[in-house]
């Protein structure tokens, strides 16, 4: 079988180049191998790919090694072929043409899909540039920006606006008014213990966005907070213009927001006169190292309510009290006891008279009825052992006694041997008019005798100063002032000190005069208490004994009228 193969190459210029090859073979073999009749040098072609054979005058194409061949577009294993058929093997198109001269078979072979350029295809497959990986920094960045801003700022803020709670009034300490703000994550720090009650209700204090918390908001719940100093005398120390916030820092954790560091006080009090020339307060910086002696507030003129606190307990002479009372502590608490009219010899303790209040802070007031009367009954006449003078009002005593003697003058039967016979008569015998007058005169003079005698004025004078008073039918008892607060600017809690014997601080057992002020000196306290930085004593700061907001001074609320008023915001019914 004579075969003519025309290898066609298309030129880039458009024309074609044809290389012809003639051979004689029974079988026309196609393949990559150089031994093939028609060599198809391409990786996509098998070594032995297919062959054309002639059987009974017909031509057949047969694919080899299980491969297939495309005949006119159909993939076949084997097929009879005719002139004009188009075969495809890999990238080659082979056309069975009309046989030309001498040849029995004429084939045209053309490479139609040449291999790509290695470099170009390698580059096309690869991603060598590191910015080709499909992530844009810019997109990622803006996504992060918007996501973070939306999540932590815009969404909570919008949610707050829509919830629109506004001012929350919890002055009634009603938890049902509280809300759960969508801005919990904005909280800069934990609330103090006392304000933790608010939970997540930011609007309890933060009434208006972008406006600092106002003093009025604080005083709406704390209306009784008073000034530190008289704002009219010491404007600089009244802190009227300074917000509560400047001292009370919230969101700083669980501890109290009231300040207790002594440096805070010493800031002004270490040199107070440079701030207020007219002050009578002494400078102080540290309890152990630099604190004035205790200056008790003692009565100088009880009637005119003149108090004095010039002298300290450690001064010489010591401060003296002018309470109007005569009292000897030593006599009452002596070791060999005192004589009780009914119980005989008893030993008095401090606590028999001095009892602290329920809170354990200060002592309950002393009264004649509660503390003296048991031993010191005010009997004025042994004939009337059941009758006692009322305590505290000489005029009432006068009428009480004269009533007693007038009654006995009218009735008779008075057993006093020195009394006139008319008084000692049988009781209830009728008197003549002159007798009656004599009896009345006796009653009057007896009353005056008792009033001015041992059992009248004399009994009073055991404890009181008694003076004549021309404007009154009787003498007068000088007023008495018994101190309940020796140090009105300090607080002291007896309860915290009840393990200490009273005598440790109060020298009552050796005091024979009521002029003695039985308060301890600062050294007594310093034997246990040191300043804030003490290492071997109880560290004590100013606020352990003193208050910043002075009770009795004008309320701070009064000069914060510009702040939002709770009353205005709260509903009228308040239920």
């Amino acid at each position: 079988m004579k075969v003519l193969v025309k290898y066609i190459t298309r030129k880039t210029s458009g024309g074609t180049a044809v290389r012809e090859e003639n051979f004689d073979s029974e079988v026309v073999a196609f393949g990559r191998a150089t031994t093939c009749d028609v060599e198809l040098p391409d990786s996509r072609v098998l070594l032995q790919h297919a062959q054309i054979v002639r059987r009974s005058e017909s031509l057949y194409i047969e694919a080899l090694a299980g491969e297939t061949v495309s005949v006119n577009g159909h993939l076949v294993k084997t097929r009879r072929i005719h002139e004009g058929d188009e075969l495809r093997i890999g990238p080659y198109v082979i056309i069975l043409e009309t046989p030309e001269t001498q040849a029995e078979i004429t084939l045209s072979v053309e490479m139609t899909a040449p291999q790509d350029d290695e470099l170009a295809s390698l580059l096309a497959r690869s991603k060598l540039r590191t910015d080709e990986v499909g992530i844009s920094k810019r997109q990622l960045s803006w996504m992060m920006f918007v996501a973070v801003l939306a999540a932590i700022l815009i969404i909570p803020m919008v949610a707050t606006w829509f919830s629109g709670s506004g001012r929350i009034d919890i002055s009634a300490m009603d938890r049902s008014a509280l809300t759960h703000a969508p801005t919990t994550l904005w909280n800069t720090g934990e609330l103090s213990s006392s304000h933790r009650f608010f939970g997540n209700s930011c609007e309890v204090c933060h009434v208006q966005p972008f406006v600092p918390v106002q003093d009025g908001t604080c005083t709406s719940c704390h209306p009784k907070i008073s000034h530190h100093a008289d704002p009219h005398m010491f404007a600089f120390a009244s802190f009227g213009d300074t917000a509560c916030q400047s001292c009370h820092k919230e969101h700083q954790g669980k501890e109290s927001i009231a300040r207790d560091d002594q440096a805070f006080c010493a800031d002004c009090h270490q040199d107070l006169s440079s701030h207020a020339a007219e002050t009578t307060l002494l400078n102080v910086t540290d309890f152990a190292l630099d604190h004035p002696g205790f200056r008790p507030s003692v009565a100088k003129n009880v009637a005119a309510h003149v108090m004095d606190r010039k002298l300290a307990m450690s001064d010489t002479p010591t401060p003296t009290e002018n309470s109007g009372l005569i009292f000897n502590h030593e006599d009452h608490v002596r070791a060999d006891g005192v004589e009780h009219p009914e119980k005989g010899n008893i030993q008095l303790e401090c606590s028999n008279c001095h009892v602290s209040d329920d809170g354990g802070v200060s002592m309950l007031p002393i009264s004649f009825e509660s503390h003296c009367h048991d031993c010191h009954a005010l009997r004025f006449d042994t004939q009337f052992p059941d009758r006692e003078m009322v305590h505290g009002d000489p005029l009432a005593v006068f009428s009480q006694i004269s009533d007693v003697y007038e009654a006995v003058a009218m009735r008779g039967g008075y057993q006093e041997p020195e009394a006139p016979a008319i008084l000692r008569r049988r009781p209830n015998t009728t008197l003549t008019a002159p007798e009656k007058e004599a009896a009345q005169n006796w009653a009057l003079s007896k009353t005056q005798e008792v009033m001015n005698g041992r059992f009248g004025r004399g009994i009073c004078e055991e404890c009181h100063k008694v003076v004549d008073d021309s404007s009154s039918p009787v003498w007068r008892v000088e007023p008495v002032y018994i101190a309940t607060q020796w140090f009105p600017k300090a607080t002291f809690t007896h309860k915290k000190h009840n393990s200490v014997d009273c005598g440790t601080c109060h020298a009552a057992k050796t005091s024979i005069s009521s002029a003695d002020v039985l308060m301890p000196t600062i050294e007594t306290c310093r034997s246990c208490h040191g300043g804030e930085y003490a290492t071997d004593l109880v560290p004590s700061t100013c606020v352990d004994c003193h208050r910043f907001h002075q009770i009795g001074l004008e309320l701070m609320q009064q000069n914060s009228s510009s702040a939002p008023s709770l009353e205005a915001a709260a509903p009228e019914d308040g239920q």
């Binding site: 070594l47 803006w142 918007v146 994550l185």
Partner: protein, 274 residues
């Protein structure tokens, strides 16, 4: 613009500035005795906070400034050197601003984002200090383009050689040429390797199929496949290193944006609830 020159630039001028800023802030912080515990709401807190916020914005501005090599305000080296040192100073100033108060809130989120930005920046600084040398070591005097051309040449040889061999070998080799990729996706680029590299598979196949004795054509083919494998390894490493010089920016820049958003939120919210 080698890394060393940035750090010692102008005899540590910006290190000195940063140290001065840190020293002043620290002394003020220690001397300051605020009401309550130190926090961002005292006068010093506001001052340090304002400085920190300004630094954050200025440091972020470097991303815009660096795009023009010759800017109107100072040389880029100045900017980069200052960016590094003042960025580190920011960490301390912002910590003092916080008064060491941290919690589960957006303010600590800002702090954490700032730390993330700084950390990624430090990683970038480290990469810039190491990778250029590794890059030139790895390239061994060849440019990436030359290595690619060499691979293309090898491919041509390999294909021609494989054509003379059996169909299966030819097919495996042909497929390996067709399917070998360099740096297909981000993770491949980042790993610098391709465990499923078809070229390596083809090399294994030719090695195994060869048995004891290899024909000359097979030996030639194998030698070329091994050489191609080596070039591929270097190219992939090259891409990995070049990516390393950029990849930290994929953390640094988006985190910076997140940080700026958190900064806005921080400033707005502390004054919202003043």
């Amino acid at each position: 613009m080698a890394h060393e020159s940035i750090l010692i630039y102008r005899k540590f001028r910006y290190l000195k500035w940063a140290l001065l800023l840190v020293a002043i802030s620290s002394v003020l912080y220690i001397a300051h005795a605020p009401v309550g515990s130190p926090n961002g709401g005292t006068w010093l807190g506001y001052t340090l906070g304002t400085i920190s916020a300004g630094l954050m914005v200025w440091l972020a501005w470097f991303g815009i400034r660096k795009r023009s090599y010759k800017g109107s305000s100072g040389r880029l080296e100045d900017w980069l050197s200052a960016h590094v040192y003042l960025g580190l100073a920011l960490l301390i100033v912002a910590t003092l601003h916080s008064g060491f108060q941290f919690g589960w809130n957006i303010h600590t989120l800002l702090y954490a984002l700032m730390m993330g930005v700084a950390l990624s920046g430090a990683v970038g600084l480290y990469f810039y200090s190491r990778f250029p040398r590794l890059l030139s070591q790895n390239r061994g005097g060849l440019s990436a383009e030359v290595m690619l051309s060499q691979i293309a040449d090898l491919d041509r040889d390999i294909r021609t050689l494989a054509m003379t061999l059996d169909d299966q070998t030819n097919n495996v080799v042909y497929e390996s040429i067709k399917n070998t990729r360099i740096g297909n996706d981000f993770l491949r680029q980042l790993s610098g390797t391709d465990p499923q590299c078809p070229t390596s598979a083809a090399r294994h196949y030719v090695e195994r199929a060869g048995g004891q004795g290899l024909s000359t054509a097979r030996r030639d083919l194998l030698a070329r496949l091994v050489k191609k494998e080596g070039l591929l390894r270097r190219l992939r490493r090259d891409i990995q290193l070049r990516l390393g010089l950029q990849v930290w920016l994929y953390v640094h820049v988006p985190l910076t944006f997140a940080m700026l958003a958190a900064l806005i939120a921080h400033v707005v919210t502390v004054f919202y609830y003043w």
